[in-house]
Symmetry: C2
Subunit: 332 residues, 2 copies
């Protein structure tokens, strides 16, 4: 099994109030690069930040890393346009960040990125991929492609109070800028990414197709962004079975019914509850309050731990150890 | 332990008769990228070639991969300026290939590449690095820096008939073009790389220093190129202990006395004999005839196998299986 972390950036994340994945837009640009280093090495190497919020909420990548400590799986970072350098060993799939979704053409090279990712997955020897993502602002671009395709389910958020009205406004502006009405790009997934998406969606779709076409198993590890990728795949006439794995925080989010969406998409959904309990540790209290919820393949990593019979208590213990080593016992 | 493969290219390799690492200069540009994929995945992914000579001699990277099959160590590719894309997960240390050593300034950004590599190694969590290289033409640029530093030992070759006269002529032309006499850059290792070297030497020196400075163990895995890197380190006032590991084919090469050089440099030398015997397999017969000899960390990988108690017969068995899967039982 290879865990592929698709890491990228989009100027959409700079819209005020869109994302919790970084204290300021300048710092947010470092979050995916830092997430990649965290999963690869357990700590930042080039990144000038530890991806932990000022309040002490760690990136979900720390959960993924904790599971990796226990299971030891291979990691490849798919660089889908990072805005900051990363020390994580990466394969390049287009170097430019995505532009603001409120422009006409935020991912002009969506087709090329998708094609290279498909070629990569087709040539990779492993028979199982678990694909996660890290891109601040990604649920907004996910909503963008869903609207362009005409899919009507909602999206989650890394913020406890999901700024859905803001996202809808941003997406409406994006459709206007692209000269589109909702549903205009049904059956045209690459064009939907190009006009309304972000670079990670192009790479994720390409990886999924290339792996499925050679008979490999694929689990898309994430919440609404991975449901958007699954929707893109069905609009690309992908009929093969694949899985989506996410966290209980996404499944419990009233903003989006992931179970209904998974049923409609005919994908197998795995929901894993890491068993966080109140007042056990600052690292997990924020998740219970609805912060972060998912990302960096957290739900997929938890599913892998569960599948391997690793108790969630062991995952939490590793998470706390990693957190304390990075941040200190007393929080940030 | 992390195996770091420093992969790069230099226009020096295009000089007729300099290198065996590729049938033509155009194909040679793909060799390091293909070597990286072979070590990472066991086969080419993006690379349009299998790095096996027309006569059937496999890249030494196949031996490294065979050992990795048995030991399962982590690999990071340090991209020191590949001329072709690679699907191997890589960390970037400067994107330009090196220019022809017969120009004044073949590695103008040697200092920057060295510094980033040093920073990377300083931030890496692993306590042991084994550093290999893949760069066609690398023994000629190794000779170039040795002359610039005033070191007088000779260099080996991937060709059975070492074109030493040609290399000396090329290096003499390079010194002329750089306005240097032999020894002029003693004590100035970065300048020696800039004027007479290649990008992999800058990155290797940076990795070595960054790792040693934080107390990690480093083994430079290779022949004369790694002795050149060790010489650069001593000229950079690195006094810490480190190791060099190479193959018996290098140690048996009359062109260069690696044991004397290692003694003079005060480094611990490991020489490992993979136990190839005549007429057992086309993959190994060429090595017995003096082709390739070393590269892609082969000597380091063999040392790791030996240290782990893995019999060389097991390494050969994996090598033959990998070769037959890539090339077919009947050769290329």
């Amino acid at each position: 099994m290879t865990f592929v972390l698709v890491a990228g950036t989009t100027e959409t994340a700079g819209i005020d109030g869109i994302s919790a994945a970084g204290e300021t837009p300048a710092l947010m640009a470092h979050t995916p690069a830092a997430d990649a280093e965290l999963v690869a090495y357990g700590r930042p190497v080039f990144a000038p930040i530890v991806p932990v919020s000022p309040e002490g909420c760690p990136t979900p990548g720390l959960v993924t890393r904790a599971v990796r400590d226990l299971l030891g799986f291979d990691v490849v970072v798919a660089d889908a346009g990072l805005a900051a350098r990363t020390a994580a060993p990466s394969v390049g799939f287009g170097s430019d960040p995505g532009a603001d979704v409120r422009s006409a053409d935020p991912v002009p090279d969506a087709a090329a990125r998708h094609d290279v990712a498909r070629e990569y997955a087709a040539g990779h020897p492993d028979d199982e991929f678990v694909v996660g993502e890290t891109i601040p602002g990604g649920t907004t671009t996910a909503m963008g492609v869903l609207r362009a395709l005409g899919a009507d389910y909602a999206v989650s958020s890394s913020l406890p109070a999901n700024p859905l009205a803001l996202k809808r406004e941003v997406v409406a502006d994006g459709l206007d800028a692209s000269g589109l009405d909702a549903g205009d790009l049904a059956g045209e997934p690459i064009e939907a990414i190009r006009r309304m998406g972000d670079p990670t969606l192009a790479v994720t779709l390409g990886l999924l197709r290339g792996a499925l076409e050679r008979g490999a198993d694929v689990t898309l590890a994430g919440g609404t962004q991975m449901l958007a990728a699954a929707t893109l795949a069905r609009h690309a006439d992908v009929t093969a079975d694949f899985d989506v794995a996410t966290t209980s925080f996404i499944a419990d989010d009233d903003a989006v019914d992931v179970r209904a969406a998974a049923d409609a998409l005919d994908v197998t959904l795995h929901v894993t509850d890491p068993g966080f309990v109140p007042d056990e540790h600052v690292a997990t209290d924020h998740y219970l309050a609805g912060v972060a919820k998912e990302g960096v393949g957290m739900g997929g990593a938890l599913h892998l731990a569960d599948r391997a019979g690793v108790p969630m208590a062991d995952v939490r213990e590793r998470l706390f150890a990693r957190y304390d080593a990075l941040v200190g016992d007393d929080g940030p």
